[in-house]
Symmetry: C2
Subunit: 375 residues, 2 copies
Amino acid sequence: MDHRTREHASVLVDWSARIEPGDDVVVSVAEGAHDLAVAVAERLGERGANVVTTYASDEVSRAYLRAHDGDFDADPAHELALYENADSVLFLGGGRNTAATADVPGETRQARARATEGVREARMATDWVSTVHPTRSLAQQAGMAYEEYRDFVYGAILRDWEALAEEMALMKDLLDAGSEVRLVKEAPGGDGSGPSRRTDLAMSIEGRTAVNSAASVAYDSHNLPSGEVFTAPFDAEGTAFFDVPMTIDGKRLRDVRLVFEGGEVVDFGADRNESVLADLLDTDEGARRLGELGIGMNRGIDRFTDNVLFDEKMGDTIHLAVGRAYDACLPEGETGNRSAVHVDVSADVSADSRLEIDGEVVQRNGRFRWEEGFE
Amino acid sequence: MDHRTREHASVLVDWSARIEPGDDVVVSVAEGAHDLAVAVAERLGERGANVVTTYASDEVSRAYLRAHDGDFDADPAHELALYENADSVLFLGGGRNTAATADVPGETRQARARATEGVREARMATDWVSTVHPTRSLAQQAGMAYEEYRDFVYGAILRDWEALAEEMALMKDLLDAGSEVRLVKEAPGGDGSGPSRRTDLAMSIEGRTAVNSAASVAYDSHNLPSGEVFTAPFDAEGTAFFDVPMTIDGKRLRDVRLVFEGGEVVDFGADRNESVLADLLDTDEGARRLGELGIGMNRGIDRFTDNVLFDEKMGDTIHLAVGRAYDACLPEGETGNRSAVHVDVSADVSADSRLEIDGEVVQRNGRFRWEEGFE
């Protein structure tokens, strides 16, 4: 076993999930995550936790879902009881084929998700954490060799999380105290390709609370890796250009452009699969408004790998999401932007960029104002 | 996927476990049983059952148990709740290394088993069925090539169970109506090696009820394959010789001899590891008395493979167990032979043998009295 797999398990159990002796833990193991499951079991044994291990096999799910007539029972008693009695759920992702359930009809998935909403809620009510074991399948999706991908994943996960949490707290404090954020990025290359490739977007964050997503349930953060600070902006005005490619419903989009007026998208474009973007924005009223502004601060993540667990935490990137806002960012009793969707779009801000809060530059060309290299 | 894997799944779900729409099923998947899990999920989806899939990995268990200090919590709430709310549990065995937990201290296993007795009872209170997917590891244990072993396993499992259940009912009726059983087998080879290699054993079965173990919960039978009829004899008198090799606590025994007087073993021997047999018989008072007489009737099992799931159901064999008797064989309110152990020893009865009930021969040289070839 790669010694980093054991380190990964320790970060997951100790830093992220904060497992205590006597905790009732469910460990969900994807087809390719066996080695991580062994390492996690070892750490949970040392901790004196109690473990039920489930097999989260995409091929098993596919076979079941395709064979089913689609009339699913609501919240099966045994599954519900398992999660209602669990303190924590650790999701160890990492399959053998990211397209393993490609031929399951969308309506079957949706029918199953609707029928088991109570199970999902019980699971989400635990101290859950989601992580991935590096598999060849994920390496392939990222366009990397297997060894290279393992280095990438452990580079993102085996951080000094305590130090990063402290640094992210500085950004959270700035966002919490601020009223308006402005993101400016000059058009890349300066090739005169027009105003649509330039970003100049202002958003209100008045009264909103930022989340310091430090890869630990102690920070209300449920992904490992994490490393972003996010809040829920509103009343966006201006234009934004997103140079990081992304995948929606299996379709790759590039160079997404959004124009906001009065908080709403009034114009948009993309260099590929623009119709996917159009469908997304037409989902409901909230799909044309912002739900999230996130600042990626995990510099262990240094490239786009077509996996949202990594992409949106990448250092030197900023992402916006259209759609649903997270409750944690909203004042008590306020609903914020509601939508059935929440889709992130990211921009590289390592050059030609600045982020301002109330007119003061807090990040320039990827450097924060508390860092060396910030001018 | 081998088409026989799908047939195996159908026999398991339909004949053995009798799964109905809406049943809450736990499927326990060993490390090497993935393909069978996929086939079983497909069949359960067709049936409209609800499924939780657990990962029964020996390597995960080993890591957890070795790391734990041995002071296990009693019956973890989430694990107990899962099984208390399940209708059926399907155990899909078939690992990658039959010795995968060899270095887990016995006291750790025992401490864990004691602490989770309630979980075990909840599991056994369901309509559970245990089966195995043929793996290379099990082929190795059986001393067979992988393809050869798969043929063997499916030969044992893909039977006409309805027909076999009917045939076994004939044997059950004879045992239920009978008072005394006598098993006689001449010493093999006739080489004058002495009376200890001859079997001539009489046992009382007065008032006892035989179980028709037809690989289905409908017959109170929880193993697939099965195919034996067994009852709980007492007051054994005489000598018995067992020519099928066996493994106790990882030690191989051959040519076990037992001499009974007044229902108790008064002398014994074995050609290898006799001390293991001595320790077994010294476990407690009940360990020197018989707990089971079983007649193997599954002719799809044609050889010893060092796996009790198969060995004791082999056609043309008869086995006896020292130790605990099964409640199902006893009159209401009677306890029968009690012991912490139940260990089977088997004899090939395909030649030089006869089984008598109340003086009437019911099986001779492997043929039953209702069959052609019986003289």
